[in-house]
């Protein structure tokens, strides 16, 4: 068990290192000179050379990557050359907003999607199942930014129930009320994904022999579904949720822009448009690490639920 955990964590670190190296190389292959972008076209060659030296751009690429990883390993993401501010500060100011948004979004999607999938599987081919199916596919089909725009129109502009933009004035209640609409928009599609996946894997498990055994022993249907079936059927769902959280951390950008919320997606978007490479690198790196962390956590939870995984080693 512990061996499995250790292996999984080491693998996670390896993935981060490979991802960072790829990312670093790719950004440097993008046409355009970061120094010229930063200083503008009329900067003197001396100044350009000075900045280039300062950013370590004269070293060969592999050396730059190793230096970068070394720096990251000590917890230093570099400096934002525009604002003369540490990238760490910038990223970690924005990060909590995105994490809360993603967790709230996936959280409500789980609360609705998983029971919906269970219902569909238990009453398969009934009206409930068909209705849940239509609802799920609709949720998946609507793009997040459309949901975001219409929920602003309906709940903020017309009904005036909830605030439309920003992240609140700092108070807890205000923060929560500003979180509701964006979380709704982020999570809606995931309700559909989760419901469909849970339904499919429940039905698959229900046709397995051990469920017939449980029935032959007269176990109550409730025990069979929620203890014997769901425990197995939830495994692929846990993996999907782990990936979902990881993906949303960087793709919540639409929602963050529509709701004018601070957040890491928005930060990346702004940094890319202004060619602020240190900030792009820093924030993409942090989301990459978080992606690996959330999928690793999902794997570890799977191992806790499924004894076969942890003995595999």
């Amino acid at each position: 068990m512990w061996l499995y955990f250790l292996k999984r964590i080491l693998l996670g670190i390896l993935i981060v290192v490979v991802a960072v190296s790829l990312l670093y190389s790719m950004i440097h292959m993008v046409p355009g000179d970061p120094v010229k972008t930063i200083l503008g076209p009329r900067a003197s060659p001396e100044l350009q050379a000075q900045i280039r030296e300062k950013m370590g751009l004269n070293d060969p690429l592999p050396v730059q990557i190793v230096k970068f990883i070394g720096r990251v390993a000590t917890g230093d993401l570099g400096e934002d050359v525009f604002k003369r501010k540490s990238v760490n500060t910038i990223v970690f100011e924005q990060l909590p907003h995105t994490i809360y948004l993603v967790l709230a979004g996936i959280g409500w999607a789980m609360l609705v999607g998983i029971p919906l999938g269970c219902l569909s599987a238990i009453y398969r081919n009934s009206m409930i199942d068909r209705f849940a199916g239509i609802l799920s596919v609709s949720c998946i089909a609507i793009p997040t930014f459309v949901v975001a725009l219409y929920s602003v129109l309906l709940f903020a502009v017309t009904l005036k129930w909830l605030p439309a933009i920003g992240a609140g004035d700092g108070g807890f209640g205000s923060y929560i009320s500003h979180l509701i609409l964006p979380a709704f928009a982020v999570g809606l599609g995931w309700v559909g994904y989760l419901a469909r996946l849970v339904r499919a894997s429940m039905l698959e498990v229900m046709s397995e022999n051990h469920v017939r055994t449980a029935r032959a022993f007269g176990l109550p249907e409730k025990t069979i579904v929620f203890k014997y079936v769901l425990r197995l059927a939830i495994l692929p769902t846990i993996t999907l949720i782990g990936m979902g959280i990881g993906i949303l951390l960087s793709s919540a950008v639409f929602t963050e822009i529509v709701f004018a919320r601070p957040g890491i997606g928005r930060l990346i978007y702004d940094a890319v448009t202004s060619r602020n490479y240190p900030v792009v690198m820093g924030s993409v790196l942090v989301t990459t690490i978080l992606f690996v962390v959330s999928t690793t956590i999902a794997d570890l939870i799977n191992a806790l639920v499924d004894p076969r995984v942890r003995t595999e080693g």
Binding site: R212, L219, T311
Partner: protein, 327 residues
């Protein structure tokens, strides 16, 4: 029904709705299990063995319907019972052991959890349930049962898992145990061990067993009575002696001829029964076996033979029953 019988099936007909039309999977099936006896069921794949078991425990597929007949268990017709009443019988009065021990236990729950869960009806402390499971495991020959209770199914071998399945099935001391090819997935040495264990347990607990197998040797060794099924019908039933020494239905006769254990000299080609099993959606007007039968006469293709008791406790569904004999 006779009070000495645990289970009596009379004239059971089961149909499946399928794309090819109505499949008459079981036709006029009769079966009697006297208290404390072991009844064997033989027949090739698709002959209706599983459908019969599933009708007994009320777990037929959704597209199946029982069109007529009765299944009396301890004097009560199981076909008249509600789903709730059936659930109370399953696992408590009728237990099952399935074919493939590798897949019949839940892979993510420890065997202790599963063995304790099935005792959910008993209002006794968990420690007592656990003690009962430990005792059952040691009775089926699991070494060190106390510590193995926390293990998961994948940590046991196939033979061990089948022992666990037997322990689970007998834990509630059911009146009837249905064993659906419990040894088919095991190798020969294990098969013998499991059979002996099962017979010992049956002896000490006094339950009746319905034992399904296509291994004739096992049937001959274990059972008191045998029914032979073919194409959804019980073609012959009687005592184990009668079936093996005086087979009366041509199918039983052929089946015994095909048993490798009965062939004296070494041969490269094993005997088979020529022809194919009949299509249950398009039944012939006469005897179901007529097409493959060497002895069929004109009547066989016109009229379905009734099940006749031509000798005491010996029935066959053949127009020639009593005339065909093991010569």
């Amino acid at each position: 029904m006779d009070a000495n019988n645990v289970l009596e099936i009379r004239g059971l007909n089961v149909e499946f709705a399928s794309e090819r039309g109505r499949l008459r999977a079981l036709r006029d099936v009769d079966l009697t299990i006297p208290r404390g006896s072991i009844v064997g069921v033989v027949g090739e794949s698709g002959c209706g063995k599983s459908t019969m078991i599933n009708s007994i425990i009320g777990l037929l597929a959704h597209n199946a319907t029982v069109s007529s007949g009765s299944i009396s268990f301890q004097g009560e017709d199981l076909l008249q019972k509600s789903e709730r009443e059936l659930r109370d019988i399953r696992g408590q009065h009728i237990s099952m052991i399935f074919q493939d021990p590798m897949t019949t236990l839940n892979p993510v729950l420890s065997i202790g959890t599963q063995m304790i869960d099935i005792q959910y009806r008993d209002q006794i402390p968990k420690a007592q349930k656990k003690a009962r499971s430990i005792e059952m495991l040691s009775r089926v020959g699991i070494p060190d049962p106390e510590s193995r209770l926390d293990n998961y199914p994948h940590q046991f071998s196939g033979g061990m898992r089948q022992r666990i399945a037997i322990a689970m099935a007998l834990q509630a001391e059911p009146e009837l145990l249905i064993a659906d090819e419990p040894t088919t997935a095991l190798d020969a040495t294990l098969e013998v061990q499991i059979i002996h264990r099962l017979k010992d347990l049956q002896h000490s607990m006094g339950c009746s067993i319905l034992f399904i197998s296509h291994h004739l040797g096992v049937i001959a060794e274990l059972c008191d009575f045998v029914i032979v099924m073919y194409g959804g019908e019980v073609v012959e039933r009687g005592t184990v002696r009668d079936i093996f020494h005086r087979p009366s239905h041509p199918y039983t006769f052929k089946l015994l001829e095909c048993d490798p254990a009965r062939i004296a000299e070494t041969t490269r080609s094993l005997p088979t029964i020529p022809g194919e099993i009949p299509n249950l959606a398009k039944l012939p007007p006469g005897c179901i076996f007529a097409d493959r039968c060497e002895r069929s006469i004109g009547l066989c293709r016109e009229k379905i033979p009734p099940s006749t008791e031509f000798a005491e406790h010996h029935w066959a569904r053949c127009h020639l029953a009593g005339e065909v004999s093991s010569t």
